[in-house]
Amino acid sequence: MCLAIPARVMRVDGDKAQVDFGEGVLREVNVTLVNAKVGDYVLVHAGYAIQLMDEKDALETLSLWNEILAAEEE
């Protein structure tokens, strides 16, 4: 039940936003809890965006993994 799914913000209208979960279909979610702008990725849980996810941070995960793998090679 704590599952949250990333979606891309396509339109913002007050505390509501239209987002795309990658299916090309727009769905309405509540964005009261985050300051979302068009183009942002948000994590959506039970109809509410609960956190922003930026692409830079996603890449950071990959670099953290690579770092861990590389550090051990030495």
Binding site: M1, C2, L3, A4, P6, N30, T32, L33, V34, Y41, L43, H45, A46, G47, Y48, I50, Q51, M53, D54, E55, D57, A58, L59, E60, T61, L62, L64, W65, I68, L69, E72
Partner: protein
């Protein structure tokens, strides 16, 4: 996201699994506990346990918010429903056993019980059907509590109130950390709960209990890297708090959500099915919001309740003491189609996750 594919790269999984093997001291059992139904799903679905050394065991703690709702709270919702109030809840809750029946049984007997995807659906229903009384049975951890808080803070129509069963995770982790016979060596902390609460609430685990604690995401590689990070800390004997899920979790968490939670709720001692009463673990509406508190509005009294069905071992499953397959009823008398205990009901219950894996 496009990067997603890399998050499941089997080559990367193989290299990290090798590193985990290289790092693990032979023989001594290492038990690492996660507290999230979605982590259990990832681990089971991708068969991650088979990649780990025999002596590294990843166990599932109380990570299913539906499974730990005590029967007394389900009973209270059923009582309201039987008196004509519309009960709205997430689908997972419908079949959770109360003392004598579930909300689904009550629905079959004619009660108006509705499944919603979001609390905002109930707000809409209460607006559209102004002649009816609605109660939202608000279940979930810190991930879900903010959405309830948003709607309560907006003061919805007077015909809607909330039966608040929200629980917070860190106190339950602390209970596990104190169980000496469980012999935990580290925690994988729940990623989506952490998007809200941030990292700070987990500081006690390394500092006070000497337990490595790593917040992890939900891709198979996230979980494997988190296991590696825990083992690495153990091997260096430097328990710390680390964040593997940097793409969604930061130190402070979602401050706006935290503020809403503390505006609307107070924290109380709360009963968890299978775990007993845990200090400061349950959210309740503040007196300012009494008008929206179903407990006060309907003067609900919570009787003792029968949490455990005969033969069910959910109370041992939720703390990771036994695996679902060690319960004699698992996949015999108890199946997803005919669940006996709460752990077989919810999509995130450990027994349900294991049942799904054995069925495919």
């Amino acid at each position: 996201m496009a990067e997603k594919l890399k998050f499941r790269d089997p080559e990367l999984a193989k290299s990290i699994a090798q590193k985990i093997h290289a790092l693990t001291p032979k023989g001594k059992p290492v038990k690492i506990c996660h507290v999230c139904g979605t982590h259990e799903w990832t681990i089971t679905h991708y068969g991650l346990r088979s990649l780990l050394p025999d002596n590294v065991e990843v166990i599932a703690g109380p990570g299913c918010p539906v499974c730990i709702v005590p029967a007394s709270e389900v009973d209270a919702a059923i009582e309201l429903a039987s008196k004509g109030t519309v009960i709205a809840c997430f689908g997972d809750l419908l079949r959770v056993p109360g003392s004598r029946m579930s909300l689904l049984d009550a629905k079959a007997k004619g009660a108006d019980v509705r499944i919603v995807y979001s609390v905002s659906d109930v707000v809409q229903m209460a607006q559209d059907e102004a002649n009816k009384e609605f109660v939202f049975f608000a279940v979930g951890f810190e991930t879900t509590a903010p959405s309830t808080a948003v709607e309560v803070s907006l003061k919805p129509r007077g015909n809607l109130s909330f039966l608040v069963s929200h629980r917070v995770v860190p106190p339950a982790m602390e209970l596990l950390a104190r169980m000496e016979d469980l012999q935990l060596k580290g925690f994988i902390a729940p990623g989506h709960v952490s998007t809200i609460i941030g990292l700070k609430p987990y500081e006690v685990f390394p500092t006070k209990y000497g337990l490595p604690t790593v917040v992890a995401g939900f891709e198979p590689l996230d979980v494997l890297f988190a296991v590696y990070m825990v083992l690495k800390q153990l091997s260096e004997n430097k328990p710390a708090l680390e964040n593997e899920y940097v793409r969604a979790v930061n130190w402070e968490g979602n401050v706006k959500a935290q503020r809403l939670i503390s505006d609307v709720f107070t924290v109380q001692d709360g009963k968890w099915r299978g775990l007993g009463t845990i200090p400061a673990s349950k959210l309740a509406l503040k007196p300012e919001y009494a008008a929206f508190d179903a407990e006060k509005k309907y003067r609900l009294r919570f009787a003792e309740g029968i949490d455990s069905q005969p033969g069910c071992r959910c109370h041992l499953v939720v703390i990771g003491k036994i695996k679902p397959s060690e319960c004699p009823l698992f996949m015999h008398a108890c199946t997803p189609q005919n669940p006996v205990g709460a752990c077989m009901v919810s999509m995130e219950g450990t027994c349900r996750v294991w049942a799904k894996a054995t069925q495919v």
